[in-house]
Symmetry: C2
Amino acid sequence: MTTTPVKSFDLDALTASLEGIEIITEPSQVAKLSQDYHTFSPVLVPKLEGKVGDIVVRPANEAEVLKVAATCVKHRVPVTVRGAGTGNYGQCVPLHGGVILDMTRMHEIRWVKPGIARVEAGVKLAALDKKAREIGWEMRMTPSTYRTATMGGFIAGGSGGIGSIQYGFLADRGNLLALQIVTMEDEPRVIELRGDDVQKVKHAWGINGIITEIEIPLGPAYPWAEVIVTFPEFMAAARFGQALGDADGMIKKEISIFASPIPDYFAAFREYIPDETHAALLILAEPSLELLPGLVEQYGGKITYQKTATDAGKGTHLGEFTWNHTTLHARSEDTSITYLQSTFPADKNLQMVEHMYHHFGDEVMMHLEFTRVNGTVVPVGLQLVRYTSEERLNEIIHYHEEQGVFIANPHTYIIEDSGRKVIDPEQLKFKEMVDPYGLMNPGKSKVLEFKI
Amino acid sequence: MTTTPVKSFDLDALTASLEGIEIITEPSQVAKLSQDYHTFSPVLVPKLEGKVGDIVVRPANEAEVLKVAATCVKHRVPVTVRGAGTGNYGQCVPLHGGVILDMTRMHEIRWVKPGIARVEAGVKLAALDKKAREIGWEMRMTPSTYRTATMGGFIAGGSGGIGSIQYGFLADRGNLLALQIVTMEDEPRVIELRGDDVQKVKHAWGINGIITEIEIPLGPAYPWAEVIVTFPEFMAAARFGQALGDADGMIKKEISIFASPIPDYFAAFREYIPDETHAALLILAEPSLELLPGLVEQYGGKITYQKTATDAGKGTHLGEFTWNHTTLHARSEDTSITYLQSTFPADKNLQMVEHMYHHFGDEVMMHLEFTRVNGTVVPVGLQLVRYTSEERLNEIIHYHEEQGVFIANPHTYIIEDSGRKVIDPEQLKFKEMVDPYGLMNPGKSKVLEFKI
Ligand SMILES: Cc1cc2nc3c(=O)[nH]c(=O)nc-3n(C[C@H](O)[C@H](O)[C@H](O)COP(=O)(O)OP(=O)(O)OC[C@H]3O[C@@H](n4cnc5c(N)ncnc54)[C@H](O)[C@@H]3O)c2cc1C
Ligand SMILES: Cc1cc2nc3c(=O)[nH]c(=O)nc-3n(C[C@H](O)[C@H](O)[C@H](O)COP(=O)(O)OP(=O)(O)OC[C@H]3O[C@@H](n4cnc5c(N)ncnc54)[C@H](O)[C@@H]3O)c2cc1C
C-alpha cells in the first residue's frame, strides 16, 4: 500500500484514457457533485469546505466501471463513489480530489421476484419500490430520501429508516442478500459477495470496492395509510409510540414522535397539529387502521389527520417529515438547528427519554423514531439541537453517552467516530485486497490512515 | 338469569321445532361429537367422562342458526358450539347435555382481499389459507391443527401458533377485525362486533354468542422453507432460537426447540436428528434462508434437513410436529405423557429456561416455541411432563409460578383457571346481554357459576 493517495495527476492523460465514457469537467458542476448533506452539521461545514473532485465520471455499465477502475489505479487517482449525494456526514465529499464516480446512470432493475429484487447500484429507491409494487412487494425499509437516494448509496452510506420498526436496520442479518463489486486492483475484478459476506462492504462509505449490483429482500406492499395523532403531554405521545411499536398485531411502517415545538416546522401539517401539542406521525397498514382509535384513546391522543393508501401517493408524503427530513424542515426555517443520532436503552417506560426531555428542555428538542433493535422495539432519537458551539454540542453528546444513550455521531466524516466506532477486521482485510493502493474515498477512516 | 341450565327437556318437541335443519341423534355419533382433545390431560379425562350432548344440530347458514338459537332459548336447552373439536381443555364437551351446535357446514369463504378475509365460522383454517394464497396472502397465525380446525373454534378456543413469532397472539390488538354473532335471547339477533369490541367474544369458549362470521387480517404468503437444525447442547439450541427470533431481518414463521429425548418421538424425522442431540424445527422465508448457516454456526448447530417452499407442501409437514402436535406425537408412543403451557419471562439469556431445564431433568422435557409477546421475543413452553399424579403435576405448576413463569393451565375446563385467570368485565356484561338464560356452554366459567 502507498502511504498517501496521490493528489495531483495528469488530468488530460486520465481523460484520454476514459475515452467513450461520459465525463463532466465543468468546474461548477464538478463542485456541485462533490457535495452532500453534511451541511446539516455546523461542525462538518468548515472542515469540508473547498473539498472538490477534479472530474466526474459517469459510467453506464459494469464494463465502463472496470475501465474507470483500471485507469484510476494506473494513474493512482483517488475515487469517490457517489450515488445521489444525500449522505449527511460528507461521506461522498472527496478529501483528496480525484475522480467522482457518479453511479446514477446505472439504473437498471435486473429483476424483481416475490420477496427479492436485484438492481444496479444507481437505481433510485423509489424506482425499485414502484416496480416491486407491481407484483405486491416493496423495499423493506427506506431512508426518508427514497425519492432521490440510490440503492448503492443506501447500502454504502445509510442505515435504515421508514420500515425499520418492522425489519430493523440494514446492518441486521437478512436485510441484504448479495453485492457485486468492482475492485481497485491493478487488474480490477468483479466479485459477488453473498450471505454474511456482504458485511465486508455494507456501510463502508465506498472504501471497499465499487458496488455495481445489489440483491435485496423485499417486504409485502400493504396498502399503507398515513395518520397524525396529537397529544397534550409529550410522554403520553412517546409511550403511545412504544405501545404501538409493541402491538404485534398492528402492522406499521413508521412511528415518529415529535415534542412541541418541532411540529411548528411542518408547514404542510400545521393545521392538523395545534400549538403546543406533541405529535405522532404514523404509517400503518390499512387492515390495522380500525384498531388504532382504541389505542390512541388509551394514551389520551386525538387522530387529526388520516389519508387512505390510495390517497397517500398524492400530495404531501408524510414519510418526508420523518427521520432526517425533520431536520431538513427545521433547518429550512432556522439554520442554527442541528441534530443528534441516538439509540435509547430498551425500556418500555422510556425513563431515559423522559429524563433527557426534561434535562435539556428546548435546547434538545425530542424527535423519536421507533425501530426494532435486535428483536426489541426501542426509540432512536434524531433530536434537534439549538446549536451554540462545538464544545456545547460535544457536552450534550457526552452527557447522553454517560447516561447510557448510544450516540452515532453525525458530526464527523471519520467512519470510526460515527456509528461504527470500530472497523470490522473482516472489512479491513477485505479493504487491503480490493483497494491495495488506498485510492477509495481516502481520508475517511482513522484506522486506515494509521495503517497505511 | 336462571340459576342452573335445564338438564332435561322434551327432545321430541325440540327435534320437531328444528324441522328442516340437519340433526344427528344416533348416540355413538353424538358421543363422538361431544368429545375433544382434553384427553391430553389425565386430570381432565375422569372429570369429563360420560359428558355427552343429547343431539347434534348442523346448521347450513345464519338463518338456520337463528332458528336453532330461538328454539333452544324457548325450550331452555344448553347449547355447546363446536368447530372441529380439536380443543385441549374440554371446551366443547357439554357439561349439561343439550344441543351440540356443529358449525362445520357453514364453510363459505365470503371474500379474500389483499391483507383481509371474511369467512363463515365453519371454514377450516387450511381452506382459507389455500384460497388466500391464490392472491399472495395467508393466515397470520394458525394452530398446528390448521388442517382440521375451524375459524370459529380458533377464535373462540385457540390462542396462536405457527406465525406467532411474527404477529404475536390472537388476543393482540389487530389480529382479529370483526365478528358476527347470533345471540341466545328470546328473539335472537345478529350482532356485528368490530375493532376492539371483538374482545367481548374472542377466546370466550362459546359462552358469548354463536360466531357465524369472522373478518381476519392476513399476512404475506412468503415462500416458506422447512429446516431442522441439531445441537449438541440444549442451551445452545435455545439461545439459537432466541437469536433467530431477535434477528429482525430474518423472516420466520416458526421456531421450535426440543430438548433430547423429545425428537425421538418424531418418527418421520428420526434420521435427521441423531440420538441425544437437541433440535430446532424452523419455518423460514426462502429469501432469509441463505443467511441461516452463519447464525447456525455461531451457536454450534448443524443443518440436517431442508425442504424448499415448493416441496414443503408435500409429504410430512414440519409444522405438524410443533406446538401441541409435539404432545400428540409423544403421547402416541407413551400415553403417560402430558404437558404444560407456560410463558417464560423476557430475558435474552434464558436463565429461567436453563434453570427449569436442569431443575426437572427428564421429568419435564423442554419444548419451547419462540413467540412475540408485547413486542418482545420470548419462549413459550409446551413442556412434556412424565405424569405421575395430579398432586405432583400441581407441584410442578406451582414451582414454575413461584419462579415467575406464567402458567396457562391446560388441566382445567374452567376459563378462569386456565390462561385467562380473570374474566374481562366487558365480556361478562356482554354475556348477560347475549345469553340471558345462561344456556351457552354452561359450567365452563366459575365467575358465572357464582353470579347466576
Ligand atoms: C433529509 C435527509 C433525510 C435522510 N434520512 C435518512 C434515513 O432515514 N435513513 C438513512 O439511513 N439515511 C438517511 N439519510 C442519509 C442518506 O440520504 C441515505 O443514507 C441515502 O440512502 C444515501 O443514498 P445516496 O445515493 O444519496 O448516497 P450518497 O450520499 O451518494 O453516498 C453515500 C455513501 O455511499 C457511498 N456510495 C454510494 N454509491 C456507492 C456505490 N455504488 N458503491 C460503493 N459506495 C457507494 C458513497 O461513497 C458515500 O460514502 C438522510 C439524508 C437527508 C439529507
Ligand atoms: C395436536 C393439537 C395441537 C394444537 N395446537 C394448537 C396451537 O398451536 N395453537 C392453539 O391456539 N391451539 C392449538 N390446539 C387447540 C385447538 O386445536 C385450536 O385452538 C383450534 O383452533 C380449535 O378449533 P376447533 O374448530 O377444533 O375448535 P373446537 O375445539 O371445536 O372449539 C373450541 C372452542 O370454541 C368454541 N367454538 C367453536 N366454534 C364456535 C363458534 N362458531 N362460535 C362460538 N364458539 C365456538 C367451542 O365451544 C369451544 O369452546 C391444538 C390442539 C391439538 C389437539
